[in-house]
């Protein structure tokens, strides 16, 4: 198949699947909290609806920056689609995507000039603690498989079995990242409701719809990467079931857990990350991991 056609198809799949999974996530949260909740398709409808809404630009915003940051957000997640589902390339590229995502959160908050955005932008720096367990998880995957290449990691697992069984604590570290990035997460200090919508507060209308597009792709890519590097070669049905199960789990966690204060959020992430890090080292050196 033509490469560009492949990329376009994967981006569309990522957007549609990500939107529906985020809608499902919201529905699960609502049902756990004994609310009817919106239909599963609501997130997708919101993205499309916002896209055609009237958009103004705040007087305090740095306009090129304010619009450009939404462009960068879409760009990095399209890089995520290319490095992941399309090319099965290096995990380091995906780590770079997460690192730049943190910069986007930071700059999106500061570009609007809103105090809510600015406070969210400061919290984005604090919440960089999320990326430490991710980096550690990637290192352990490298130590066990001897490669950073997603295609080779899949090949390794087809011979030796899924990595979730050999380095479960590294998988737990990655899962922490998924919980952190999920909507209404206890660790989502950049989108705490005391900050309205955090760094997205002043991005409304078209720009919010564009950000929804990117976030849907982000959710899909995140789940795809987790399933691929810890559950080995999967069929399309395997990915679908895996993504729905993870969305269910995060929905339950987020529905029943209040958001942490920033310091508690960071300390919890670092503590869980440290326990999993040393636990995995112990497993490797005691020969539990082959």
């Amino acid at each position: 198949m033509n490469l560009m056609a492949n990329i376009l198809i994967q981006v569309i799949i990522a957007f549609l699947a990500g939107s529906l999974l985020l809608g499902l996530h919201r529905k699960i949260m609502a049902r756990v909290q004994r609310r009817p909740g919106p239909p599963i398709i609501q997130h997708l409808l919101h993205s499309l609806k916002f896209f055609f809404k009237e958009t103004g630009f705040p007087k305090t915003a740095s306009k090129p920056f304010y619009i450009g940051i939404t462009f960068i957000l879409a760009l990095i997640w399209i890089v995520g689609v290319i490095a992941g589902p399309v090319a099965h390339d290096s995990l380091l590229i995906l780590f770079g995507v997460y690192a730049v995502y943190k910069i986007v959160e930071h700059n999106s908050g500061s570009s609007s000039g809103s105090p809510y955005g600015k406070l969210s932008c400061v919290r984005a720096v604090l919440s960089a603690a999320t990326e430490l367990p991710l980096f550690a998880a990637i290192i352990f995957v490298y130590l066990v498989t001897g490669t950073m290449n997603i295609g080779e990691i899949i090949a390794y697992q087809s011979v030796h079995g899924p990595l979730i069984f050999s380095i479960p604590l590294a998988a737990l570290m990655f899962f922490m990242l998924i919980i952190t990035k999920s909507p209404y997460s206890p660790f989502a200090i950049t989108k705490d409701k005391v900050l309205i919508s955090g760094f997205e507060t002043e991005h409304y209308g078209l720009l919010r719809g564009f950000m929804h597009f990117s976030e849907s792709i982000a959710w899909y890519v995140m789940l795809w990467v987790f399933l691929t590097i810890f559950f080995g070669p999967l069929t399309a049905v395997g990915y679908l079931v895996g993504m729905i199960v993870i969305t269910f789990i995060t929905g339950f966690i987020n529905a029943t857990t209040p958001i942490f204060s920033p310091n508690h959020s960071v300390m919890t992430q670092i503590t869980v990350g440290a326990i999993c890090f040393f636990g995995t080292i112990l497993m490797i050196f005691t020969g539990v991991v082959a």
């Binding site: 990329i7 896209f51 055609f52």
Partner: protein, 71 residues
Amino acid sequence: MNSQKIISIIVLVLSTIAILACLVINFDTWIVYAVAMFGIPAWILSLGLLTMAKPKPEDAEERIKEPFTGY
């Protein structure tokens, strides 16, 4: 026609041509990746800026003169 509209039209046309060219011609991989990374977001954003709802003429002034509450 304001500058935002002109820039959006130019970006939309260029990104459409670039994406279509990559669909028709088999360029080097890195060229296709570059076009996908910049072309797809540019296409969506420029299309959105052109198609988003505009305020009615009688409301346009109100949008600009909306009181700034200050932060």
